[in-house]
Subunit: 125 residues, 2 copies
């Protein structure tokens, strides 16, 4: 359908495919060392901070579904749905800036409320 | 840049411009009577249910900024930032399906946690 340069979208989809298939180390190869990530809880600077945020999420992921993905040569925008161990039907959206095949900026949106509710819920045992 | 049919994006941007400029009645002219909206709190069916969800939000909106917007002939994907009376820096993302110039489906993602925290906070007076 599209005739634009989709370099950023290509990188975003490669990153997305990697982490949703539980290959987080492969996903990290698309993350710039100096990535800045604006997450719901605040700003994360650098690949190691990003790893500490996103890595644990991939461990609780049980299902994912890409809802929509668009992009051009510099920017990609993705929306997806996930199921996780604590929360079912937890969608997310990411706006990614890509430079030289690496994600240098990510703005990620998801609803923290059900995760917070699950964290506070009494655990069996 | 793009050579695709962007009919859905055009409608999505017209809707977005209307509600972010506090003309919610104009925004509602882009909403199909039988819209289905998947919001963080659950599924809303029909334009009146949608009005009850989105209308109050436009009343607390103090600033907005479109972060990214893409789309084709049927689907649009938007990410934006907002400031609201209770919560600053409250971004949202919407995936819209458009048919005959009307939004028939919307999946909207935002973080309810800061709104819940503001609701629970002690009020002055």
């Amino acid at each position: 359908m599209t005739h634009t340069n989709t370099a950023a979208l290509d990188t975003a989809l490669a990153y997305h495919r990697a982490w949703t298939s539980h290959d987080f180390e492969q996903a990290m190869t698309y993350i710039a060392d100096d990535i800045v990530c604006q997450a719901p809880a605040g700003r994360l600077a650098g690949a190691e901070a990003f790893r500490g945020f996103m890595g644990p999420f991939t461990h609780i992921l049980t299902r994912s579904n890409l809802i929509a993905a668009f992009g051009d040569d510099t920017t990609a925008l993705l929306m997806y749905d996930t199921d996780t161990l604590p929360v079912q039907d937890a969608p997310g959206a990411e706006c990614l800036t890509v430079r030289d095949g690496k994600i240098v900026h990510m703005r990620i949106i998801f609803d923290r409320l059900p995760f917070e509710a699950a964290r506070r819920a009494p655990r069996p045992g």
